[in-house]
């Protein structure tokens, strides 16, 4: 029996007159890995940011873990949630950013344990233990006392993954996690993500790494101009695309 982790129903988003998402519907089951691919400006990152309500949506509904994101529905009327309720919803959704966004004034370990201590109320001893475990899990046990500026891009991104995992999320969002990395550092980050997927984490990954998508994804979605053009297994979408736009895109990136 599988459960729906994410249920996005015709999600629409616009900035002024610029319509970025034109009605995206997709579902992700528990333990599933979904890769979103598409040209730049297609709306894939925006969609990801809507999932944890970093961006509010203009239409449709997003349910994560059976909870409506950002709003409370009473009958047919939507009420905006209070900031603290939105913050609570976000706690179960980890996010990893293209530019890492580590807190530069904190060491790697402090980055990982700040939210568990300050937000989840974990004791500082327990958080430290968890933090060191997570840093070991991403292969950086020896870098706990390093500041982000002393780490390579790949190491920073792995700390960022550990930081997101520290809140024990049910869902992990990755927004082009390897796009800002030097080519030789990409592998380490992808390895960490692969082992996460193997451990059963539900993941949505916006990526340009077709190799990763082919190997790890259960489902691949190709988005263009704010719409899903094609979706299916990696084999279907990446190896035998039906749509001409998918073919054209894959020809460019492969």
């Amino acid at each position: 029996m599988t459960e729906l982790m994410v249920d996005a129903r015709s999600v629409r988003k616009s900035y002024g007159t610029n319509q970025v998402l034109n009605g995206i519907s997709l579902t992700v089951e528990q333990g599933e890995v979904l890769c979103i691919i598409g040209p730049s400006g297609s709306g894939k990152s925006t969609f990801l940011r809507c999932l944890n309500h970093l961006e509010s949506i203009n239409g449709g509904r997003i349910y994560v873990n059976d909870e409506l994101m950002g709003y409370r529905q009473v009958g047919k009327v939507l009420h905006e949630l209070k900031p603290k309720d939105i913050a609570r919803q976000r706690q179960s959704i980890g996010m990893v950013f293209q530019r890492f966004n580590l807190f530069p004034h904190m060491t790697a370990l402090q980055n990982v344990i700040e939210a568990p201590i300050g937000v989840a109320g974990v004791s500082s001893d327990d958080a430290k233990k968890l933090g060191l475990e997570l840093l070991a899990q991403v292969g950086l046990a020896d870098k706990a006392d390093h500041y982000p500026a002393q780490l390579s891009g790949g190491q920073q991104q792995r700390v960022a993954i550990a930081r997101a995992l520290a809140m024990k999320p049910k869902l992990m969002l990755f927004d082009e996690p390897t796009s800002a990395l030097d080519p030789e550092l990409v592998g380490d980050v992808l390895d960490v993500m692969k082992s996460l997927a193997k451990a059963g984490m539900t993941m949505i990954v916006v990526t340009h790494e077709m190799g990763f998508a082919r190997e790890v994804a259960d489902k691949v979605v190709f988005i263009d101009k704010g719409l899903i053009v094609e979706q299916g297994t990696p084999k279907q979408v990446l190896d035998n695309p039906k749509e001409s736009r998918t073919k054209a895109f894959l020809n460019k990136v492969l």
């Binding site: 970093l54 913050a87 976000r90 530019r99 937000v119």
Partner: protein, 298 residues
């Protein structure tokens, strides 16, 4: 191929000569020496009086007042400034307007005028009553001059003025923090006030501290304006003495000397603070950067 242990091609060059530096240095030294000579040999200045009053107990007591008024005003001013900066960046329009109005008002009127206003508040409102309006509940009441003596009036005036100026410094510091930091904090479920305290402000401090050091020095000197409402700080002490013995210049030198000592000494905690909040930023803009501009021989 040259191996690493072969030093025969080490760059050992004769350093470039800088004759212009020597010429300018000599000229500057000459000017400085002639100025010092002119001041030292001035017949009108009685240096024995300067020496006599340099450690006069009234001067030293004035210095203590100057120092603690400065520290109190900076702490109150900076706290209020942070509040104003956050209000000005708030999504709540009423908070934005209130903060903007406060800042405009206190920056738009001369500090001197504000000090005199607070000092003579008793003329406008002889009695002060603090209580719940339209009821008999009164927490505090009395003569304004008793409740707000000159020292308190001076501290209020300097603090409010300081808050208005430093609010913009704090706001600039907050705006200098990368937006991705707030997003990362949000994605971890941090509230906006937690994010402000733990993520944004500590990083903003790096940008805030240098101009705040300026403000501190400015505040130290501005306390001398409290002479107008007879607060017994350093400048008041000096001018009280000089109005009795008519040695104006000598006492100006005395107070000037001590102001200079205090502003110089206050530079040290600033450097310590800069180091404290520069942690994690060394390779970006801290100690490592200037090395690139230095040329040295092995």
């Amino acid at each position: 191929m040259a191996d690493a242990t072969d030093y025969s091609d080490d760059v050992v060059a004769v350093p470039l000569r800088h004759p212009a530096r020597w010429i300018f240095g000599g000229l500057a030294a000459l000017l400085l020496l002639s100025f010092i000579y002119a001041v030292a040999s001035a017949k009108s200045i009685q240096y024995e009086l300067v020496a006599k009053f340099l450690f006069d107990h009234r001067i030293l007591e004035g210095m203590v007042v100057t120092l603690y008024v400065t520290v109190i005003c900076m702490v109150c001013g900076a706290t209020l400034a942070t509040l104003l900066a956050i209000m000005k960046l708030s999504e709540n329009p009423i908070q934005r307007w209130l903060a903007t109005g406060f800042i405009e008002f206190f920056r738009g009127t001369p500090l001197l005028l504000q000090i005199v206003f607070w000092g003579y508040l008793g003329i406008i409102f002889p009695q002060l009553v603090l209580g719940v309006p339209y009821t008999d509940i009164v927490f505090l009441s009395g003569d304004t001059s008793d409740l707000i003596p000159a020292l308190v009036a001076g501290i209020i005036a300097l603090s409010l003025n300081e808050a208005a100026y430093s609010a913009e410094i704090v706001r600039a510091g907050i705006l200098a923090v990368d937006g991705g930091q707030v997003e990362a904090a949000k994605s971890l479920g941090m509230s906006s006030s937690y994010t402000m305290r733990k993520i944004v402000l500590p990083q903003a401090m790096r940008v805030i501290i240098p101009p705040m050091g300026n403000e501190f020095i400015g505040m130290l000197k501005n306390t001398s304006l409290l002479q107008l409402i007879a607060v017994a700080e350093l400048y008041t002490a000096a001018s009280t003495i000089s109005s009795a013995n008519l040695a104006q210049i000598e006492l100006l030198i005395v107070s000037g000397f001590w102001y200079l000592v205090m502003t110089t000494v206050l530079g040290f905690p600033q450097r310590a603070l800069e180091k404290r909040y520069g942690r994690g930023f060394e390779s970006v803009g801290g100690r490592a950067a200037p090395r690139a501009f230095k040329v040295g021989r092995r």
